[in-house]
Amino acid sequence: MEELKWLVVDFFQAFAAGLLVGGTYGLMCVGLGIIFGVMRVVNFAHGDFMMLGMYAAYYLVTGFGVLAFLGPYAAPIVGAALAGPIVFVIGWLLHRYLIARVTGARVVSAEAEGHYSQIILTLGIALVLANGGLILFGSTPLSVQTPLSRESWEIGLIFLNQARTIGFLMAVAFAIGLYVFLTRSSLGKALRAAADNPIAAAYVGIDVDRAHRIAFGLGVGITAVAGGLIASSQSFQPYIGFDFVIVMYAGVVLGGMGSILGAFWGGLTIGLVQQMSTLVLPYQLQNTAIFVVFLLIIFFRPQGMFGRVWERT
């Protein structure tokens, strides 16, 4: 009886951990999903923009201590939120001067052409960011210091790490904010229209290239916030992007390529699978579990959980 009780507790503990981690994964995936959804560009550098978000949060909070005046509790949260606009600007500029040369309305409408150069370019950006990060930030693993990561809330017999819980709540808040932006604001709707049908969008007067620039900045910015949130519960180094980009792709494909809301659920699912798998599998097989579930879903539902087949034929 006692044994069963702990089995149940373990289950819920893993479920809670999965939910908390999954929330931030979900936000990351939304960032990648918005870029794919609007621009039809596979952004290989996405994990490295997340890495930039982590370092932005780190330098704001711990490194330069610009936000130290906010105290050890609020500073990491504000730091993560501010990582968004910083990386937005970086992404916006990179798109304006580099990525726009191989993407844009012309390429979106002719799906076959231009994809090779996008893949090579974003892969190149990934390498430059990761190795540039190595030169600038060094290889020592860092993390954003917060007392929250060592404290937990207890709900019954379940422990909720405070840093992760707050990260989760922030991630959900950002995802909801983005959802409201995309469904309620005129600019958000224009982004969706440009994603849905770039030619018709141009006919109604939407500047599709500008929409792409905003989507790219927004996508990397959102993921940078997720990175900033994770940075206070996990150590990181300049190469961490490679670890996460796999998780992000799995999440986006799971949710259904092009479905921005689906990407959040995809990321959440990945987090849950990753943490729950530790109940039955050794810790090292976490990512294997992700891909087994991933393959199963792709096998039975190739359009992803939320993908609609008619969205783009």
Partner: protein, 235 residues
């Protein structure tokens, strides 16, 4: 209002349009007819800026249209209702109409245009929260025209509004197009394969064949032209 002079368009060396000249006066209903592949859609795409011509001139009111970037052209009061409807399938009917009003004019006159659109196509009002991709072909065409009207345009360009629709639906659509022209006095440039319906109501018509204007003239001239009657009207 719209004046096109010796427009030449080529896709990779293949001539799509050769020396096409065309004129639309304010308040007119102008039809461009001709068989498949005559270059009708290319003509529209060039006016909207999706296709860049090799040579020629397009003047719209006082503007040199070819110097205006594509996204800006919608701001000038040109509404392009594209071939194959091209509604925003993953957005609701209402959102599609809102997107139509994205340009300055459209925003300023959103309320009155919406009222007019819903009066013309009541079905759009009934389906306002439905995703456009789930509408029937006829309803999508009505939505596409509604989206064009939402920009409160001066010139409404309709590309093949009858495409892929049942005859009864086509009649209903053409009836609405007349109504838009007659009641609301909108200038209309229509491209159609269904020559009889298109010429019947136009003030002026152009017959396009393999990228050239082979015939042009006022409604009566075209309708009584024996070549047109034989080739297109089956008389």
């Amino acid at each position: 209002m719209l004046r096109i002079r010796s427009l030449n368009v080529a896709y990779g060396g293949l001539h799509a349009l050769t020396d096409v000249s065309l004129e639309v006066e304010r308040g007119q209903f102008v039809a461009v007819v001709g068989p498949n592949g005559a270059g009708k859609t290319t003509l529209f795409k060039t006016i909207s800026g999706v296709v860049t011509p090799v040579a020629g001139e397009i003047r719209y009111n006082e503007h040199d249209l070819l110097a205006v970037p594509p996204a800006e052209r919608a701001q000038l009061g040109i509404a392009h209702v594209p071939e194959g409807r091209q509604v925003f399938a993953s957005m609701t009917v209402m959102e599609n109409l809102e997107m139509g009003a994205y340009a300055r004019n459209g925003r300023a006159r959103w309320r009155e245009s919406l009222e007019m659109i819903l009066a013309l196509f009541p079905v759009l009002g009934e389906r306002r929260t439905q995703l456009a991709g789930t509408l029937s072909g006829g309803e999508q065409q009505m939505l596409a025209i509604g989206r064009g009207l939402a920009s409160a345009p001066e010139l409404l360009m309709l590309d093949e509004p009858s495409m892929g629709l049942a005859p009864a639906v086509i009649d209903a659509i053409f009836e609405r197009v007349h109504q838009i022209h007659k009641q609301h006095g909108l200038t209309i440039l229509l491209v159609e394969q269904r020559v009889a319906e298109a010429l019947e109501s136009c003030d002026r018509g152009y017959v396009l064949e393999t990228g050239r204007v082979v015939l042009e003239g006022a409604h009566d001239t075209l309708m009584s032209n024996s070549a047109v009657r034989r080739a297109y009207l089956g008389m």
